[in-house]
């Protein structure tokens, strides 16, 4: 056999064409990933400077969904902001509602009945299951595991959303919490549905983990990628599972002990290396703890009212002052800072968005890795652009 003819690869005689690798040798290349890149989970842009395929600089650009949520909050009454908080992190409307209700309760000094506190815990833990399942699905999707894990996660998410819909009337924009309690009391059927979901969720996690957690390709893609050291994580204000994956024992459910959480027995999973795999693993383990909390809450749900009888919804005017309330949302510490001047609208309404602040360390995580790794690092930080841009 004769050697294959490769003469067509050679540049035409006398031309100035050079091979590409000669042309760009040693140069840095700036690539704009997004705002319509499918891996960025929304309209998010990363300006990445590359040396070969290695990232040497990364600047996140966002604000494409900015609607000045805080100004809207200052121009409406306290209660009218409640449905707006659903739209911040549209996966976790229940915890957004709770954080806002908690801040207003601190501001006005309202008490919450025991049944409402338990309902809040049940709904927050369902939200955590929903968020972490979706995150695991999206992360696997980002790794190139197209479709299947995400659809498995969405199947479970749909069951939780059905419960939310039957309770609050809306799948994602629940608008459920009120200052001093909750909006509707669930029926016995609904509680039985939650019990059924709780009993079945462990089996789903087992199945999910059997397919993915020990998967060699997944481990090769994520272990050692995007390491976050604990001192940097604390200094940068990183919260939630991303902080705990770096080995910092900081969970507001334990630290602040808000709501009914001190009455439950659960553990806080911590990571060891702070890499992408640990961030995945911490979330899986957190879901298992959430199931434990749900079991206890359903078994011990007290009877009684779901609203503080002194709470006033219409014409609500807290006295002048300010308050900052925070809870452990699925993505991290979500807080609301309110200043009241005694009028029906807050003078200042500020959202402390966890995914916005967690993005501070995105560049540090990605430096030295490849573009393909930047995609999964962003996936493991877990952002929702509705909350980043506000």
């Amino acid at each position: 056999m004769s050697a294959p003819d490769s003469s067509f690869l050679a540049p035409p005689a006398g031309s100035q064409v050079r091979a590409v690798h000669d042309e760009f040798h040693g140069d840095l290349l700036e690539v704009s990933m997004g705002p319509h890149h499918p891996s960025t989970h929304g309209v998010f842009r990363m300006i990445v400077t590359l040396d070969g395929e290695t990232i040497v600089k990364l600047k996140p650009v966002f604000g494409y969904l900015h609607r000045n949520h805080e100004k809207l909050g200052e121009n409406t009454s306290y209660l009218a902001s409640m449905p707006y908080t659903d739209r911040l992190d549209y996966l976790n409307s229940m915890t957004n509602n709770w954080a806002y209700a908690l801040a207003v309760e601190r501001l006005a000094g309202l008490a919450v009945p025991a049944r409402a506190e338990y309902l809040r815990v049940i709904l927050a833990e369902l939200t955590r299951l929903l968020n972490h399942s979706c995150l695991a699905g999206f992360l696997l999707q980002d790794c190139g595991c197209s479709g299947t894990p995400l659809m498995y996660a969405f199947r479970e998410r749909e069951k939780i959303l059905d419960l939310f819909e039957s309770l609050s009337g809306s799948r994602m924009m629940c608008n459920f919490q009120r200052f001093g309690g909750c909006r509707v009391d669930p029926s016995a059927d609904w509680l039985a549905g939650v019990q059924q979901l709780t009993d079945g969720y462990g089996a789903f996690l087992d199945e999910f983990e059997a397919l993915l957690t020990g998967n060699e390709i997944f481990m090769a893609r994520t272990q050692g990628v995007g390491r976050l050291a604990a001192p940097l994580a604390i200094s940068a204000g990183v919260t939630g599972p991303v902080l705990r994956a770096s080995g910092v024992a900081h969970d507001l459910r334990k630290v602040d002990g808000y709501g009914a959480y001190p009455q439950f027995d659960f553990r806080v999973p911590l990571g060891d290396h702070g890499d992408t795999y640990d961030r995945y693993m911490v979330r899986i383990l957190e879901m298992r703890e959430s199931i434990q909390i749900l079991r206890q809450a359903l078994a011990r749900l007290p009877d009684g009212p779901i609203m503080d009888p002194k709470a006033k919804l219409r014409g609500f005017r807290p006295k002048a002052g300010e308050a900052y309330g925070r809870i452990e949302g699925p993505k991290g510490e979500i807080g609301f800072y309110l200043i009241s001047d005694g009028s029906p609208n807050p003078y200042r309404y500020r959202v402390r968005p966890p995914s916005f602040i967690n993005l501070t360390i995105l560049e540090d995580l990605c430096l030295g890795h490849t573009v393909a790794d930047a995609v999964i690092i962003l996936g493991s930080v877990d952002i929702v652009l509705g909350e980043v841009d506000r």
Binding site: F62, G63, H66, N68, E70, K71, R106, L107, A108, G109, L232, I234, S235, A236, G237, V238, T239, V248, H250, V255, P318, K319, A320, G321, E322, A323, Y324, G325, R326, E333, G335, Y337, I339, S340, Y347, R348, R350, R352, F356, I357, L359, T360, I361, D389, R390
Partner: protein, 216 residues
Amino acid sequence: METVEQIRDRLLARFPGATVEVRSNPSPSGQHSLLLGAATAREIAQFLRDDPALRLDQCSNVTGVDWPEKEVVETTKTTVPDPAGGPAKVVEQKSRRLEPGCLEVVYHLYSIALRHGPLVLRLRTGNRTDQVTLPSLTPVWRACEFQEREVFDLFGVRFEGHPDLRRILMWDGFQDHPMRRDYVEPDDYEWEPTPHGAVLAKAKRHYPAPAPAAKP
């Protein structure tokens, strides 16, 4: 955690000449704050982070508050004796005073190591127009990086010593600061295919109708 008064006393002993005032909060939340002078704010922040009794290692929340100029009406009562020897008259005098406005930056500090907080710090600019520079606390807590950029973007506070002070939510060419109380939104940003009501009124203001043509 120590009370704000105790922290203030310790700070004043450690930093003689610094301005540290306690701002009390009448709300049931009881989160009182410390108002710091801009000159020593960064050293004080560093001290709060490193002090073994406080160790406020997490700066959770950074935000701005706009306090525009406001007119304060003060009523003073003076007693004027009656020259004729009758009962003294009480004369009320109303005086109007313009209280200067400022931009305020609020920091909520917590300690992850010692599990306490919040300590609320406040910094104030000189006014709302030309003296809007404050020291950046990003060198002390990295968490301030994006949040101070947001305060710069939406309130117009300039942070001295910030590594990358650019707009973050609005686009780079944008001029105003939308979170200020006196911000007026442009009247042509809303577009509707079939405009009605408020949108139509706005559009009329922005694109005034041409003058009627003179009759031939």
